[in-house]
């Protein structure tokens, strides 16, 4: 059922008053600008020379000579480039682990009536209503010896009950006859999942994968909690330390003598770090955007 008005107004709809339309348009322009303007000036500043930034006295709004100096500098600096690598690695491995575990779990839970179906589902749904608490979780991670390990950034947050339930709802909607006929042809559960269910649920799997990936890329608190070693810092910690708190970048002397004798990062460098942190979301975004509604609605309303 396509209820959107694709071309113009419905025949019975009177156009709104001119003032009303201008008002609405104005609000929408402001809303769009509120999102895009900060991004624009941040990217532009990161591409501006130190001179330009100094002359303007802050963020640059009007382009005046584009240079990649700031990016060259942050990628020659081992702290930032290492952090990008760490974040990328954690995101890739974490997303693979999370998606694998969630898809398998959701499929296992997609058929009511199978053995232990209810207790397992109960376990997952419990995660919705009760958070075990920061401190016991911290003690558990520490006692597993995961502190300062990259796994501490992945395993504690690997399973999201919400994502499992969304995937499960999709898997349950796949016609039973399809699965049954595959079973009669002798296909095992793993083959059915891989060959029939996943191809049919490609879109939702992609969206859930994006949700997980965004979560890993953005995670700050777990890293702050579990990773003390600055050489293992993900980008979020670097962003906090150098951009928000303006700590000096320990250029060239990472981890040895470290902080103190270098100037705080220039605005262009800060903004370059911000731009690098934003970039992956911007790149992946267009490919999955059209599937958002499905994923979110199924999870939020239908369940």
């Amino acid at each position: 059922m396509n209820t959107t008005k694709v071309s113009g107004l419905a025949p019975w709809e009177e156009p709104g008053s001119a003032a009303g339309r201008i008002g609405k348009g104005g609000v929408l322009v402001l809303v769009v600008l509120a999102v895009l303007l900060p991004l624009y000036t941040i990217v532009l500043t990161s591409l501006s020379s130190a001179d330009t930034v100094n002359r303007v006295g802050g963020l640059v709004l009007v382009p005046d000579g584009i240079t990649l100096d700031a990016y060259r500098q942050i990628f020659s600096d081992s702290v930032v480039s290492r952090a990008v690598l760490v974040s990328t690695g954690v995101t890739v491995v974490g997303t693979a682990v999370s998606l694998g575990v969630s898809v398998l779990g959701a499929y296992a839970l997609s058929r009511p009536g199978t053995l232990f179906h209810r207790p397992i589902l109960f376990c997952v749904l419990l995660m919705f209503v009760f958070f075990p608490g920061l401190i016991p979780t911290y003690l558990m991670v520490a006692s597993l010896g995961l502190k300062d390990s990259y796994w501490s950034l992945i395993l504690p947050s690997a399973v999201s009950a919400f994502n499992v339930v969304v995937l499960r709802a999709f898997f349950m909607n796949i016609p039973r006859e399809l699965l049954d006929s595959a079973r009669i042809d002798g296909a095992g559960e793993f083959r059915i999942l891989w060959r029939i269910v996943l191809p049919l649920a490609k879109a939702v799997t992609a969206v859930i994968g994006l949700f997980y990936a965004v979560g890993y890329w953005n995670a700050w608190f777990n890293a702050m909690l579990y990773v003390d070693d600055t050489r293992r810092w993900p980008l979020a910690l670097v962003l906090r330390s150098y951009v928000v708190d303006s700590n000096p970048l320990p250029t060239a002397t990472v981890g040895v003598s470290g902080f103190g004798h270098v100037a705080p990062p220039t605005l262009a460098i800060k903004m370059a770090i911000v731009a690098v942190a934003v970039l992956p979301a911007l790149v992946v975004y267009p490919f999955v955007q059209r599937h958002f509604t499905k994923g979110v609605i199924i999870g939020a309303i239908k369940g």
């Binding site: 209820t3 959107t4 107004l9 419905a10 019975w12 709809e13 609000v27 929408l28 769009v32 895009l36 900060p38 006295g57 802050g58 963020l59 398998l104 779990g105 296992a108 839970l109 009511p112 009536g113 199978t114 053995l115 397992i120 376990c123 749904l125 419990l126 209503v129 958070f131 075990p132 608490g133 920061l134 401190i135 016991p136 003690l139 558990m140 597993l144 395993l155 399973v159 499992v164 339930v165 049954d180 079973r183 002798g186 095992g188 559960e189 953005n218 700050w220 909690l225 962003l239 928000v244 800060k270 911000v274 934003v278 911007l282 975004y285 267009p286 955007q289 509604t293 979110v296 309303i301």
Partner: protein, 331 residues
Amino acid sequence: MSADADTRSVTEVRPGATQAGPAAGPRKDAFAARLRRDWPLLVMAMPMLVLVTAFWWVPALGNVIAFQDYNPFSGGILGSPIIGFTNFAQLFGDAQFIRAVVNTLGITAFQLVFYFPLPIALALLLNSVVSGRLRAFIQGVVYLPHFFSWVLVVAIFQQMFGGAGLLAQILRDHGHAGIDWMTNSDTFILLVTAQTVWKDAGWGTIVFLAALSTIDQNLYEAAAVDGARRWRRMWHITLPGLRPVIVLLLILRLGDALNVGFEQFMLQRGAVGSKVSEVFDTFVYWSGLRTGDFGYGAAAGLFKGLVGLVLILAANRVAHALGERGVYSRS
């Protein structure tokens, strides 16, 4: 494998003759048959169960340290002395804890009034955009900040509204005094609400837009024929159409009242001070983890977890009572 096809019919419809049904033989045989049939599914669930056990069940049970004078170095969870509710008693006498409770509830209430209606308004506005492509573009733009981390959002706000930010810079250029909203504790509640709006108001429209698209267009046409103008149609058709979703989300937000953006407050606690920015989660972190008083922090965390549990279950109840499908009713 042939029994597979009967799985559902056995449990749901109970037809007469199936060799694997529970009625076919003693319970034990049925169990063995079901195990033979369903073991691949159990294997598939295993990784998830291991992770949930390690990072949910064990920590959940580890909350016993809330009732202990817990010392990780001598004794640990088994050897630390049990002190009953001493930690909780201390908690309720702790001015900082009371402050965290008051701040959390205050911020939730404030955002219920000043954040909650915005996605609805924005969705109505978007829905009135006639051109499909323009609307898709605006949607694409407003969803975007949802995918930024809190660190990034705080960094961006700092660059816009901080002491050295764009707004202060523009004000100074025009001969005014600069501003610094990032460290001003008086306006902190406005700042965090603005950040929440910027990050999530656009994303929040998705649910409402979907609800709007399910409203029967014939209703509008019929109303128009009956002479109802724009605003009357909005009042009598659109808003009633949205009501179930609004009620549901409102109830869920109330059930989640103890959660205000955790990272958001952790990140900015230093800049504005703990007086206005201390919330439940930051209290647990600073009074428990930072000081090494694990039992005390765990007590605060457990208190929050249990109150949150009650709130969520109550919210779900209310949703059911109002005829909505609560979120936790999935079979």
